[in-house]
Symmetry: D2
Subunit: 363 residues, 4 copies
């Protein structure tokens, strides 16, 4: 541990050995503000070192950071985490339902990747490149539940995350959107490990991902919605329709979107390109460690973005948009590419926590 570690926030990780948990490890191992302090996983892993607990299941291109490899892994008992300043949860919805609310009740701050609390009217659903202003809902959440320090903040489903960044850029500049039709081509890694059977997705498209279309349709409206003076969520009239597909790509969700603006006449293609290129979010303004230089990289080549070539740009922390053109049915259509395991999962939680730290929510 570095000498400066004492001034860093102590971090606990729930589900530390799973797919999302492994990404948390890599993102936080050398983080300037967070220090990995406590690792929680299933009972089967408890008592092992992190390296032992992930033997045969560490599926990252980078090796386990040396100082984490020997850290002890325990279970998810909240007592082990009581002196953590922040808890990142990579738990699936089953265990998340069991543990996350317990952590909140123990006055811990939980950044969750599970779907459980995304539609909860008390919990902000935050895509860090879009709506960190919704952190204000934490006040409402604490007040309603009688908490002083604890909260749950969720991040969005991976396929929602990529989509709402350009949508936000458009709404920020041109006012509300009426309708969005999106078709996704989602990567294998989005399903975790072991996740998708190779027998199902090899040389194939699976035009169905359980619950995914509903998530996009509901989450997009919440993320792009507004909050009242009392920090409660206010409904959003935006209508979204999603077609979700699994395709044989390892990382990177590609989404084809057609949008219709409320404003008539609609902005031109050139205006839309400019709005996306100029879009900046609060995480950038606050100079957060994980914030990308550009929230949206707008590609001019006719056949980009592509998952294999563009998913690792900016370490997967921004999104890529291309093929911005007129839509013969709606106003504008374009392609979005986002890294589902980075900005679509762990990176979102970390960036949300960085914004929360900068705004005093972790004091």
């Amino acid at each position: 541990m570095s000498p400066a570690a004492s001034s860093k926030k102590r971090v606990g990780i729930l589900g530390a050995t799973g797919t999302v948990g492994q990404r948390f490890i890599l993102l936080l191992a050398a983080h300037p503000h967070f220090d990995i302090a406590v690792l929680g996983a299933s009972a089967a892993s408890a008592g092992k070192t992190y390296a032992q607990a992930t033997t045969g299941r560490w599926k990252q291109v980078h090796p386990i950071p040396a100082h984490v490899a020997d850290m002890p892994v325990g279970d998810c008992d909240v007592k082990r985490f009581m002196d953590c300043d922040v808890v990142f949860s990579g738990l699936d919805s089953g265990p998340a339902a069991e543990y996350e609310h317990v952590f909140r009740e123990a006055e811990l701050r939980v950044f969750s990747n599970a779907k459980n609390y995304r539609q909860d009217p008390l919990c902000p659903l935050i895509v860090p490149l879009v709506n960190t202003q919704h952190l204000e809902m934490v006040a409402h959440q604490r007040k309603t539940l009688g908490l002083k320090r604890g909260f749950i903040v969720t991040n969005a489903n991976c396929s929602t995350t990529g989509l709402v960044v350009p949508l936000k850029a458009l709404e920020a500049k041109f006012g509300p959107l009426d309708m969005v039709l999106v078709s996704t081509m989602q990567a294998i890694s989005g399903a975790g490990y072991p996740g998708v059977s190779a027998f199902d997705v090899h040389d194939n498209v699976v035009p169905y991902i359980s619950g995914e279309e509903e998530k996009i349709e509901m989450e997009a409206a919440k993320i792009l919605g507004s909050i009242s003076a009392e920090s409660a969520f206010v409904d959003n009239a935006l209508r979204v329709s999603a077609h979700c597909n699994r395709v044989p790509v390892i990382d990177g969700h590609t989404e084809c979107a057609s949008v219709r603006f409320a404003r008539r006449p609609a902005p031109s293609v050139e205006e839309v390109v400019q709005a996306m290129e100029q879009y900046r979010c609060e995480a950038q303004e606050l100079a957060c460690h994980s914030a990308p230089e550009r929230a949206i990289i707008v590609h001019k080549e006719v056949d980009r973005p592509q998952p294999r070539l563009d998913r690792d740009a900016q370490n997967g922390a921004g999104v890529n948009v291309g093929r911005i053109r007129k839509c013969p049915v709606f106003d504008i259509k374009f392609v979005v590419l986002s890294n589902n395991v980075m900005i679509g999962a762990a990176t979102s939680s970390v960036m949300n926590a960085e914004v929360a730290l900068a705004k005093g929510y972790l004091d």
Copy 2:
């Protein structure tokens, strides 16, 4: 050659050694009404047997039919084809521009796979499961050009072909559609051979296929349009917007469509399912050899159709539809899967010719 061969129509094949040409060979080698008589290819192949001309380039799962292997291949000089009753052209647009009109002027009947004449107001653009009634345009074409027997009939682009079959089933039952938004995930084989570089499509999605979106948008309107008493084409108000993507799948185009009916209220999901299941086309009524038993197979499983599992149903001659459900933005959304190298190419030409034969256009 079988004894009955004398009563079969003599067939010429242009571009016989290419990807589409190879499919023509397989489809026609044992056809009850057509007999392969003349093979035309590029000058490089002229003078070889078919087996020699396709050495290292025969990329079919089935071997070359024995009696075709030894047939001579010549060039595409129209003189070689003068006693053909039908000419199937698998030429790309470049050579198609050079040869097909010459064949028509020589009073030959040409069934073309190229894009050149698809938007020609004189040429019918026919998907055999949809609009074989447009063969009536042949009369107008012959009259305008002063021909007695010759004509060009085109079939549609592979991605258009799959889409328009369910659209036609809907319009036949519920009246005109207003708007269609479709996103395609197209197979590698759609680009011919060598076609797509593995370097481009492996572990990737390429969200662009040159000219493809415009083809779908324009062809769908023409195919679903009507013809006047004088057999000329009449405009169609349908608006279509397409997003086209190449995905790592060998055969089978998957398309996600959302549709809006002119009729209010729109039909229910159940009515749409029934309309698709009951839809029948003229090729079926005429009991054409290549017509599928069902124009549309409607899948009830939540995750079908899928290209690897469903592309070979009915030898690829019908289309597969699934996931018929309400669209939160339009009325109905669903998934279409069609075999791009069968109904999307050679099978379409052959079925078009079978209908033309049954209706007397080849006499």
Copy 3:
């Protein structure tokens, strides 16, 4: 059920709903000598129809045969199978250990796909294109165990099966081989369903398959070995070394083999080609229903066989060999391609049973 069904042998299938079981269904649904009578699966499937029990898990290109879809599925209690003439087992090694010996003790004839009895000195390990003569070991097995009718016959591991066919063709013509070095590239379907995680095999090679190398090394020696006058197995001096790899191919195992003959000088490339082309097995001589026309298809093209293009030749019942050439270290090297789900699994069991039937073992 057809009128002739009464003269057919009554067949039971263990593990009927699994990957191998599904292939048994397709192979036996219209078989001239066998009639599907009893279906056994896990307790979870008992009481359902076959269609219900395989909902969401039927992963075949062909639909469930209509008369099988409505058949009841039960558990694997031997009482349900007492009037079966033959039992095909697609059980994995766990349940196979529990059930197969019970069936044999009940005087049933079991054709097993599991590894459990392959190295049992009483059980013949038979690749139907190679060593059906080893059925004679059934007499020894029955005598040793005090049985009148029952037996267990096993077929080989999928990667062994493809390899030993050309090895047998060589030994039949040129006498014993000394050494064989083989490197395999095995298909996804070889691991069953869900089997391999897409996350593991996509854009990847996994150079390890648990237990596979040992299976090839031991099974090849047994299959190519001989039996004594008392029908007991006699040891074989052949040394085999295998490298086994999983590659992103859906069906079809490709194997690169280098062989050294005991005989000096070794046969020439031309002699080896001829030996493979002329090789015939007992299943062919007996005109068994599933026997391929050619045990080995020898490819002359420089880049064949290939799994995608050649795995379905002869309905996957033979093997493909190509690139027969001199080896700078051993004598000869070549490539073998076999369909792991056909001749490498269910087709082998069925063909073994056909030979057994023809030779009177099922009377």
Copy 4:
């Protein structure tokens, strides 16, 4: 250009816009000792900026380095390169035959990736992790050709490069090897761009790569051979047999090798593991910029190395070995994984040049 640039060696790149050329750009854009000075490509690119010349063909995950994007690209006329200290050639064998000897005759130092001079007795064939000592052949080459400064040094074929590193580690410790049998599973990128058709390699294995097996068999012997006191090459008795396959993997060649030592008894598995782990090469001793920390990473997990997980370790500059175990036919078998576009191509040339620089060959 940085102030220190004046002390760097001026570098010319031939074939700068191609697949290997693009890697040279990325490797050299921020190199401490080399400075990109002149870019040569085909006549079609001459007169464009580098960004213009690679529009639609820049297929790297990293963008074009900013200061290179605007550099002018010219043709390969030697006059443009006369003040270069080093010339890296990414030319294919056709243009390499035309240009490389001209550059040498003009007293330029050429590091070639083409096959043309690999078997030339005057040219060293160098894998930088193996035989940089062969740079001594440069003296013999210059003397024979009457040159003062010019030379051609070649690097090896990508599939040879990975293999010979562990072979060298073994010979360095245990003396000569007698026999090596290797089977490769080579990546798509090894064929350049557009290279392999997706239609050929998707869901497939192509068990043939033109000329590749001969290259491995001949190059391995030359690289592992020795040179005489007069710096001429001395023959090597090692016998190598290779099976080469193309598999659907984007980057990273996997090779399964079985080896037999001359020494009896052969070393144990443990001794072999230790020899590979401890192996160090001259580029490491000289602390060359591109030299990996470890020449060989020995994996202990039972299923590693794998191309997707291990190809980018050490930026692709070392090789990965795993599954070291006894071979039932030879002595030892193992798996090698190397990054074919890094150490297998551009990185090799650059590291060879770094060693040459350190040893005074570029003065």
